[in-house]
């Protein structure tokens, strides 16, 4: 039996329903369903979870300290490694904050390409996120490969654009690193035309599946009040029925001009969190169709930006975007030097884990994996 650490005594006054002791189990950090190196100290009564404490830090490399010791531009490739599924949105959040800090403008063509890249990122993140969730439920491999087949096509597009499949390092303060190669937008149009067929296929596989329903309906419910208080963001918040999408609220980039709906859940359980992602993929397709209609020609970088000799004026800025996992924010303080005085990342999947214990209490230990899968975490971002 593995003991929890000293600061966390076993639950007192909890009487076992069965005859026997409350067992303390350490799940992870090497567990196929923890999405990386993540550990949970779980106290179980029979199979029922009575206490759960997440343990972080196995992938901690003090990203923020590194960010304070290098120039603003040097942090850009490092943001790729936060949520390594969504490097484009990480780039955008960081670039957006630095643009706020320094008061830079973004050319129109760059805004179009940014929206396209962010929505493509959302497609591949949600597809693989749902795939991993089904994988956690025990459908090992095959459904995930359906999602990964589509994700490969999206990553090919990123590779054609940025030279790297996952570590794109593509955005710059005041624009983008380079323009799209000839024919790239046509490839995107072709993919966007084909993608709904995959969503239909994927949804048909999932929606009526009896095992999946039994494993996810009513599991890990988060009430809207708790979700707001605990700072939950992204699809997980909207699954609880709170209408809050930063694309609508802040209206950054091109989003105020675009028509799209915000899917909301009714119950806030694992099934809702899964279906929200499917519906968001459909809305992303709608956004992409609008943006791809007419991408203007023009420059892709603000000529004032000077990324290689960049010293923003004194001040601070907090910028945030709706990343596929939730609100990704950056907080920067400048003291007129080439390095930020303070560089902070607000990681959505780390803060979404605040309610992990609340979701798991009273469920079986097998449900813990489903609940964790439905939060959609990436440890590169949780531990930083």
């Amino acid at each position: 039996m593995i003991s929890m650490n000293d600061t966390m005594p076993p639950p007192e006054g909890m009487t076992s329903k069965l005859e026997g002791d409350i067992l303390e189990v350490s799940m992870g950090p090497q567990h196929p369903s923890t999405h990386g190196v993540f550990r949970m100290n779980v106290a179980v009564d029979g199979e029922i979870v009575v206490k759960l404490k997440p343990v972080f830090g196995y992938l901690h490399r003090n990203h923020e300290k590194i960010g304070e010791n290098v120039t603003y531009l040097s942090s850009m490739p490092y943001t790729d490694r936060l949520d390594y599924f969504c490097s484009m949105t990480n780039n955008w959040a960081y670039a957006l904050t630095v643009e706020k800090l320094a008061g830079l403008e973004v050319p129109e063509r760059a805004e179009y390409l940014r929206v396209i890249l962010a929505e493509l990122t959302r497609l591949q993140n949600h597809a693989s996120g749902v795939g991993f969730l089904i994988s956690d439920m025990g459908a090992w491999g095959t459904p995930l490969m359906y999602a990964f087949r589509e994700r490969e096509k999206l990553l090919d597009l990123f590779e054609a654009l940025a030279g790297s499949r996952m570590m794109c390092n593509f955005m710059r303060f005041g624009g983008l690193r380079c323009d799209a190669p000839p024919g790239w937008l046509d490839r995107v149009r072709k993919l966007v035309a084909e993608f709904p067929a995959f969503i239909d296929e994927f949804e048909a596989l999932l929606a009526g599946n009896e095992i999946l329903m039994a494993r996810s309906y009513g599991i890990g419910v988060v009430s809207p009040e708790l979700a707001v208080s605990a700072g939950i963001s992204g699809p997980m918040l909207r699954a609880s029925g709170v209408n809050y999408d930063i694309r609508k609220v802040d209206g950054y980039g091109l989003y105020p001009q675009l028509k799209f709906r915000v899917p909301l859940g009714d119950h806030g359980d694992c099934a809702d969190r899964m279906m929200i992602r499917i519906l968001e993929m459909r809305e992303s397709i709608a956004i992409l169709n609008q943006v791809l209609e007419d991408v203007p020609e023009g420059p892709i970088l603000d000529p004032k930006s000077k990324p290689r000799n960049f010293k923003p004026p004194e001040g601070e800025a907090y910028g945030r975007i709706e990343a596929p996992k939730g609100e990704l924010g950056f907080y920067l303080i400048s003291d007129k030097k080439a390095e930020p005085y303070r560089y902070r990342v607000r990681p959505p999947s780390f803060i979404n884990l605040t309610v992990l214990e609340d979701m798991c209490l009273g469920h079986t230990i097998a449900d813990v994996m489903v609940i964790l899968g439905s939060v959609d975490i990436v440890l590169g971002e949780v531990d930083r």
Binding site: N5, T7, F56, G57, H60, N62, E64, K65, K100, L101, A102, G103, L226, V228, S229, A230, G231, S233, V242, Y244, V249, P312, P313, E314, G315, E316, A317, Y318, R320, E327, G329, Y331, I333, S334, Y341, R342, R344, R346, F350, I351, L353, T354, V355, D383, R384
Partner: protein, 223 residues
């Protein structure tokens, strides 16, 4: 931003919470996100007011983080009148302005109900005591659950105690770790793993560490 300006919010808070004194800190940059510094004694009350007031409703505490401000010496040129060689003349002189360092916790608040924000709320410690003594701030976790992990992170990386936090432990570093790495004066412990014969910069750093904490390094035999 909310319908009210930050000055109006400040006035209303001071009227609603007797005894509270807020300080407005302007942000000189283009982002123009000004902030309010709360006093420790009324911080939880003021935070509860910001959350529950029907006009403001800052129910969503998005980002909580720490900042370490070291002691600063600012040098400025000033013109002063001085008696030089028998006659009074105006000369320029360097003047030093010292400001004591402090640690602070910064909260970015939004409203999900009213869809406005952000306002920036700050809590500042009195001075910057040397380790292992930690400064204390009131915890706002009872008001916004979202601060739970983020205040733990500040405790871990910056070394600020949060009074009233339900479960204050290290979160990213391991429990046995003794320093607070996000502090500006943190120096990493020596690691000779890849340095069979330490020299130059590594040796300098080792000496500095040795003077800082002679019992911890285990590098006495090398230096």
């Amino acid at each position: 931003m909310a319908a009210e300006s930050l000055e109006q919010i400040k006035e209303r808070v001071e009227a609603a919470v007797p005894g509270a004194s807020l300080t407005l800190v302007p942000n000189p940059g283009p982002a123009a996100q000004d902030s309010l510094v709360l006093d420790h004694a009324h911080a939880v009350e003021v935070a509860t007011f910001l959350r529950d007031d029907p006009e403001l409703r800052f129910d969503y505490c998005s980002n909580v983080t720490g900042v370490d401000w070291l002691d600063r010496v600012e040098k400025r040129k000033v013109r002063v009148m001085r008696v030089v060689e028998g006659e009074e003349r105006e000369i320029s002189e360097m003047q030093e302005e010292r400001s004591a360092g402090y640690l602070e916790a910064v909260y970015h608040l939004y409203s999900m109900e009213k869809k406005h924000g952000p306002i920036v709320v700050r809590l500042r410690t009195e001075g910057r005591p040397g380790l292992p003594e930690l400064p204390t701030l009131p915890s706002l976790t009872p008001v916004w659950r979202a601060a739970e992990f983020q205040e733990r992170e500040i405790y871990d990386l910056f070394g600020i105690n949060f009074d009233g936090h339900p479960d204050q432990r290290r979160i990213l570093m391991w429990d046995e770790f003794e320093d607070h790495p996000m502090r500006k004066d943190y120096s990493p412990p020596d690691d000779y793993e890849y340095e069979p014969t330490p020299h130059d910069a590594v040796l300098e750093r080792a000496k500095e560490n040795l003077s800082r904490r002679p019992d911890k390094d285990g590098c006495e035999s090398i230096v």
